[in-house]
């Protein structure tokens, strides 16, 4: 798991991951690249990450992947990420196509729902929490 300040160098990451697993005998490599869309007059999105819990979340997925003979990777940005640059890449490597396609879907969806990352719109230099696009994590409301 890799965290970076600002936009990701997607090409560097994609190519390095490809090289890392070049002789692992995986048949399928599926990355998911998330790029900041220009919408609602934003200049950028900005991200806070709580790394210790993210690492636990990621390690749990790495174990799930291993049980399937697969492997997962991810990188994410912290701070501001301008429109048309990328804040997120995750990937699945697997011997088999079906496992890889199902795993990337489950991994990315659970990432959206449960990775401890907070998103802000950046407009006129101001950082506004994206409350309406955010999802309460699993187990939310415990203290209410």
């Amino acid at each position: 798991m890799e965290l970076y300040d600002g936009p990701l160098d997607i090409k560097e990451i994609f190519c390095r991951w490809l090289d890392e697993e070049a002789h692992s005998n995986y048949g399928a490599y599926i990355p998911f690249v998330g790029t900041i869309r220009a919408e609602d007059d934003i200049e950028a999105l900005s991200f806070d990450i709580y790394e210790p819990v993210l690492r636990e979340w990621f390690d749990t997925w790495q174990e799930k992947a291993k049980a399937l003979g697969a492997s997962v990777k991810m990188a994410h940005s912290q701070g501001d990420v301008p429109i048309h640059t990328s804040s997120y890449i995750s990937a699945v490597f697997s011997p088999k196509r079906r496992v890889a396609l199902e795993l990337i879907d489950a991994f990315v969806e659970d990432f959206k729902a449960n990775a401890p990352i907070w998103k802000y719109d950046v407009k006129n230099g101001e950082r506004i929490y994206a409350a309406d696009r955010s999802t309460p994590m699993y187990g939310s409301g415990l203290l209410a």
């Binding site: 990450i49 819990v53 990352i117 998103k119 994206a130 309460p136 994590m137």
Partner: protein, 73 residues
Amino acid sequence: MIKVEFLGPIDKMPIEMEASTLADVSAKLKEDSTLIQWLDKCAVALNDTMVNDLNTSLKDGDRVSILPPVCGG
């Protein structure tokens, strides 16, 4: 004493309190009117591990994190 910290967009400094279970933490936090809007949407971690049981017991030095709704990617 345990410490409660508020993550992401919750604009609040960490607070210290006496609490022997998460239920105690809940009771104390509910006294803070600025937190009411957050509590029903927030998840909880104890020393960086997610927890889901109000009866979870706490010991001196424990750190409780309050995690508001997320949106990575």
